[in-house]
Point group: none
Chain length 204, copies 4
DNA sequence: TATGAATGAGAGTTCATTCAT
DNA sequence: CATGAATGAACTCTCATTCAT
């Protein structure tokens, strides 16, 4: 990424800060990560951070925003591809999320469900609105899948929760850098969820 | 609960503190909950907490320990009941966890997966050991279920992750006090997981 | 001042802090006085201040409030003494203010006109309301004095400003501890103002 | 004001900065005004200020110096006009000060009594020397006025304080931009002070 | 001349914890 | 058992200033 203008440099630095902060937040937690360590990871003093962001919280917000918007983009792409059936759509979504988490300097889980608590009310509202849109999108796919017989009939809301949970919150015990295993697990998740979606019969 | 001896009173107070802290940790997060607010919830001053616990971290540890041990107890009971098949065992486990989260002054999710990060290394090791034992237990049940044909053949480890994830990390959007919905959702989770376990065919 | 109860001690400490802060604010200015130096003057660490006041600004507010209320009290006493004519009242007020400034560990000028800028909007409003009441009181005395012929006819508002200015804002070059000179100057101020009030003829 | 040389431009910029800073210092206070906001008022970045002044304090110093020197000039003019009596001289001085405060982009009070505290010791000494010269000048006029019977006999020093106070420290309640009222008040101040000077009889 | 990047020092404040009572 | 006073360490953030460009 060649940097020519000052503007370019500024943007580059901003993203560099976000990337470093991201890793630290993931490893250490938002609250326990202090400004000093973020700055150190960027090889400059704490005060310089404030030339790029106005507060620690803003750094978090930018990270979550990027995640959320990226996810929205993936979802929209999938939603609009008319040649895919419901199953294919859900599979594509899961893979999109996995790729996103992985396509970073260091692979990290998505943070944006975990740290919305730490945002200012306004920022939280902003993120939650995106999240709700995502919900709606996924719910729509599931609904259609149930209508056209691809999926078993079940509570739409519950099914959406379950999908979300499996997609985002998977407890990861295996090494974060082991891409092969990650990929296999992603594949497994798809199959697992599909099996559930197709065969789940709410007892009575 | 009649309190007669000093010892009794002390234990009663300890549990009262733990219960109050538990709710606060769940609502506000461990780091963001300060000693003062725990004390206030107990209707006494911060200093008095140190008559019962030696640190904030110890309070957290006791909470997680209680959770973990309770869960172990549930798991063991289930594991040793020879008259249950694998499906029945897993269902029983899920319900046990749900009941545990619910059978409190205020229903809260289990904390012990979320805040192990905040423990001292030793305490963390202690908790993780319990967690590993739980893993082993669940993994064992799943293995048997696959052997005897109850469940489809799939990666044991992955299946355990998936089970854990669904059981513990469910994103909770619905009102925490709505027991009816909670129960229905628990039921749904059981069905969902079973559908997956029985029908999952790892692609290729 | 014998201290018996905890409550007593707390109040004593509070006032001790206020007195020390007062001197520092006067000597060094509010902004340039840091919490550390206030604490040092009280012989304890900075954190302990927060057991008594919630912020530096609150310390300032309490000081200004005490000043303002004390002044109100003086003014009211004077206003209600029916046996005094306007001149006597104004003289009494000036002396009251001077005594207040002087009757302290270290004599300081009144701060409450100087640092209202540094208050929070709410606190500023509170103080300004008191100030307005004082204005009204002084203006009333002046008005009566003009009506009954004690004072020359002049613009009420201007006369009030002038009185206030002379009373409160006197530039003090002489040593702050030289009580004799202070007293003489106070006396002079009274005479000076009275001469003006009685003889001022707005030109044209 | 046509600017031709670099030197001209530099001087123009310097004065522009001083004027902007002056307003901010008056509105917000010296300590609370930061370099960034001064720069913003000048429509450039903070760093550029240091091409014209070596520090924030130097900016303040230049402002106070200009004020003080201007005042000295006024005083000298008045002092040397042999055709004026003491009263006329004092009246002229008061008006000169008022005009100075008013003949600015935005009318502001004189700052130089208020912020000498914020100067470096050397700069403070410099300003105080000027102030002392002013004192001497005013005191001289007053002395003569008392000698020749224009003014009542009173303490020279006190009379000088009082004059200074009334001239400079007037609490400004009225709108800063209301020139008509300002002028009327200036007139009133003259009359008020003269009434005092001519009639003040120190009570024994 | 003007700028954005970077910094060191220091600010006010929070907080878990200790201790004497 | 319970408390209020006191503390040291840490935190986020501000600010005047420097420097390379």
């Amino acid at each position: 990424m060649a940097i020519k203008t000052r503007r370019d440099f500024s943007n580059y630095q901003k993203q560099m800060i976000l990337d470093n902060a991201r890793v630290l937040f993931e490893e250490t937690g938002y609250e326990k990560t202090n400004i000093k360590s973020i700055a150190k990871a960027c090889s400059f003093g704490p005060a310089n951070l404030y030339n790029y962001f106005s507060s620690k919280e803003e750094i978090l917000f930018e990270i979550l925003k990027q995640e959320a918007e990226q996810l929205v983009k993936s979802l929209n792409e999938v939603e609009n591809s008319n040649d895919l059936n419901a199953e294919q759509k859900l599979r594509a979504i899961i893979k999109g999320v996995a790729d996103f988490s992985i396509g970073r300097k260091r692979r990290t889980r998505l943070l944006y469900m975990k740290y919305t608590v730490d945002l200012t009310p306004e920022h939280r509202k902003y993120i939650n609105k995106i999240r709700d849109a995502q919900d709606e999108c996924i719910r729509g796919i599931i609904r259609k899948g149930m209508k056209n017989g691809e999926f078993a009939k079940m509570d739409e809301t519950f099914a959406t929760y379950a999908f979300y949970t499996m997609m985002l919150r998977t407890r990861v015990w295996f090494a974060v850098d082991d891409k092969a295993t990650q990929d296999k697990y992603t594949e497994f998740k798809c199959d697992y969820i599909m099996a559930a979606m197709k065969n789940c019969k709410t007892s009575k």
